[in-house]
Symmetry: C2
Subunit: 170 residues, 2 copies
């Protein structure tokens, strides 16, 4: 099964000049969604970790689905103000301006190994911030796993030092 | 296993007087997360449906996890402006003001049966809007499934006519 057939390009979204990779056809098709999860799981067979970490909102999808398949826990990283208990916050720089992410302070104990999973690796700015946040809390980033990686944005340059796997390269 | 032990009350979040049901301890614990999914799956053993439908953002978690376990497709409902292809929009009234939800127009075909799943049933306003949206598109709401239901808000009153299951009643 060619998973790329279940991802469609949407031109000029969210703004002119951007080609958005829409994964909703893959999610909707039970066989394609299952195949993506099986391949992802196969990429993790040699990794040791405690939790899947998913970043709001689309990152929750693969983190939860893989946690369910592999009997792991799932930790959500959210936009500021969404998590109810005491949080650790990380601000980071985007192309235009800054953004913030939060995680519960009690989500990560020293030495916990986490697997960051998301649907798309683009510039890598968000996942880099997540990884630094985990490390500042004493955790260890075992690997970063993505459904799609946009090679032309060269995200691995800023993520050197991390293990990265992506199923589909564009 | 008593799943309630993995849900903690956070007082005065997101505003004074509200007791927030925090499910992150349940998600983080592999056994508790798995047990919740097993019980949810058991609630669906007599239901016929094509897709799990999850509402951004926390609704993605159980929709994706159950879709992965039960080999179903998953359809995301998002806040306005987030879905990239052509959308169907539904506006609805909240206690203070209005809110909107969007779904891809090609997500639902006439006669498709969907299972709406979310972590929390509170006033029921959002899930009612989602159900009406599905029906306006020609789909059928097989059931609404929740981890937690806040009985004191009496959500079933406005949702009469729908099958509803909740694992935990508060």
């Amino acid at each position: 099964m060619n998973l790329e057939n279940y991802i469609r390009d949407i031109l000029d979204f969210p703004k002119p000049g951007i080609v958005f990779k829409d994964i909703t056809p893959l999610l909707k098709d039970p066989k394609a969604f299952r195949e993506a999860l099986i391949v992802m799981e196969d990429h993790l067979k040699d990794d040791t970790f405690d939790y899947f970490l998913g970043v709001e909102a689309r990152g929750f999808i693969f983190a939860a689905a893989l946690a369910a398949r592999m009997n792991k826990g799932m930790i959500p990283v959210r936009k500021p103000g969404k998590l109810p208990a005491e949080t650790y916050r990380k601000d980071y720089t985007l192309e235009y301006g800054t953004a913030g992410l939060e995680i519960h302070k009690d989500a990560i104990d020293k030495g916990d190994r986490v697997l960051i999973v998301d649907d798309l690796l683009a510039t890598g700015g968000t996942v880099e911030a997540v990884a630094l946040m985990i490390e500042e809390m004493g955790g260890i980033v075992e690997k970063m796993l993505f459904l799609i990686e946009l090679d032309f944005l060269n995200p691995r340059e800023k993520l050197s030092g991390y293990k990265i796997d992506s199923l589909i390269h564009c």
